[in-house]
Symmetry: C2
Subunit: 345 residues, 2 copies
């Protein structure tokens, strides 16, 4: 910056003012400074400005990994929103226990970013406390957090409506397949289960623990076994509701391998509206991942700008049922039992 000042024949103060776009610079000076900056390909050293302003110009995102559709899509929504607001994007993808311990131990985000967005990250109470102690703006994404601004989808409502759709098609035995991976989407998971159960209750259908299946890891392999166990029940399900589309895809593959026609013998439903859901004709509940990301950035900005905790808002975005070819009435309808509450959503 000193170079620019010298070349433009002004002080560094003036260069600083010009480059930050302050109005208190005369037009001629501004022009000279800008020219000099351009000629020297000047780029500001943010560390220096950070040091004095206390702002880093960075927003950090903490997430369990980068490989699920939802996380990528949410991040894709954040990136342009952050850029527009002049923030850089710092990504902390914290997968295993060691990385996790390291993150919470070193708290690299502490003075390294102006806000931290926590995405689909099931925190232990200790971890949560540690973050709260950070004294920096926190936004929770795809999960509800007490006393902190959060953006998420109404998972319970989505699962409720998805299950209802299956009930409306005539299904009475509906299995729910959840991931047993606790690190990531625990919050959504719990709520989707609640919505599912509520739909059953509303319809006067019996809850059956055997129909609620926990399959290991979101990229694990136990899917074939799970399908086997479900379909060998005395009264097997005619519909399978997978907690996420990623999961539903693997389910579809397992069913195809087992030569079980979809939706001929079983209907399959997912949750997310992954790009591939359209390609594969999977009925699912769309959640607006990119918009969630954008909204999270908006919240972060308002918390950054207004240090008063006035922004402890919780924004709940809607899901939308997208019916496609993977759901249909069950094979042999049987005499329909009366339903208490089965309006088409």
């Amino acid at each position: 910056m000193a170079d620019v000042a010298q070349r433009a024949g002004v002080s560094v103060s003036t260069v600083s003012r010009t480059l930050r776009g302050l109005p208190t610079v005369s037009d001629t000076t501004r022009a000279r400074v800008e020219a000099a900056a351009r000629e020297l390909s000047f780029a500001i050293t943010r560390s220096a400005s950070s040091l004095v302003t206390g702002r880093t110009g960075r927003v950090a995102v903490l997430l369990p990994h980068l490989e699920s559709w939802f996380l990528s899509a949410a991040l894709s929504g954040m990136a342009p929103a952050l850029r527009e607001a002049g923030f850089d994007l710092l990504v902390y993808s914290v997968a295993d226990v060691r990385e996790r311990a390291d993150f919470f131990d070193r708290l690299p985000a502490r003075r390294n970013a102006d806000a931290l967005l926590v995405v689909s990250f099931a925190l232990t109470p200790a971890e949560r406390a540690r973050l709260d102690d950070l004294g920096m703006p926190l936004v929770f994404v795809s999960q509800h957090a007490q006393g902190r601004p959060s953006v998420y989808v109404d998972d319970a409502d989505g699962a409720l409506r998805g299950t209802r759709h299956l009930i409306n098609l005539g299904h009475r035995r509906i299995a729910l397949l959840q991931t047993s991976d606790e690190t990531g989407f625990a919050w959504s998971s719990k709520n989707r289960l609640a919505g599912y159960l509520r739909a059953l209750d509303d319809a006067g259908l019996e809850r059956d623990d055997e129909l609620i299946m926990s399959v290991r890891g979101w990229k694990g392999s136990g899917m074939g076994a799970a399908v086997g166990r479900l379909l060998s029940l005395q009264d097997p399900p005619t519909a399978l509701f997978a907690e996420t589309d990623d999961f539903a895809f693997r389910l579809l593959a397992a069913l195809r391998e087992a030569n079980i026609p979809v939706p001929g013998r079983v209907s399959v439903m997912g949750f997310d509206d992954h790009v591939m859901a359209g390609v594969l004709g999977l009925t699912t509940l769309a959640q607006p991942a990119a918009e969630i990301g954008r909204t999270a950035v908006r919240l972060a900005r308002s918390v950054i700008d207004d240090a008063d905790g006035a922004h402890r808002r919780h924004i709940v975005l809607p899901t939308e049922l997208v019916p496609r070819g993977s759901t249909a009435p069950p094979p042999s309808p049987g005499p329909a039992r009366p339903l208490r509450d089965a309006k088409l959503t």
Copy 2:
């Protein structure tokens, strides 16, 4: 840090030395400082250290978007490697022309990161020059760049072997479907075309421009039309080689919609080995995306540590043919013409 020093009853110099793990600190002092740091939940202000060391402790990644499998997977490979090396990850996802202009105009990575990884980003000569002027370590990922360390896969060889696989199955009319989106994978695209053509030449098969189809955008929709055009040729292809798996998936969907059996009537092959390729039984060429990411980080570290340009290495990783159910011999084999070079790879 002054607080810590006071609490530990030492100078800030000593705190600094302790926290950086320098050996020139006595054990008792070290213990006192560490205790004080812990009690105060001290986290270092990186801006300050950056300012004096000139190191930011950050590595920036420039990529065209975040939504392709390859980019997510590569990033997933980078994240732990960077963390292990003590670097934070700064992501510049630069999609449209405006963001792009902005990035190259402001060069936010300039003094904001210790290295820049350019991933699958088709640069204009001016952009490339701008980056070279940056005077910071640059690593090119999934593309070859003259005079700069690069990691990529041998795309030409992969396409060659993929095409050969189809030829070996008896296909003589093999279409190549490429994306016409120039912003992203232009480099790989060009080389895959070259490999495809070489396989045809090697086998003594005629090149036919009608079989090389450019479909708009990697998430566009013109797939149905492209399929229509191909299958209405006088001598239609019996195999379709899609430039990426993402593309192949859409192709499969279009074919299913058109009721064209795969591989019964046409074989389909992709490139990437996307997670879903296994699920859908797509034959493809696997590229080690995560390893590419890790290797890129390794290169970046060696360039950062050793400012001499001694590390202009180009690391070429292999692809691997993964045969699955989507490729098979063509429907009516006809009398096999003799092949010059058709060993099974």
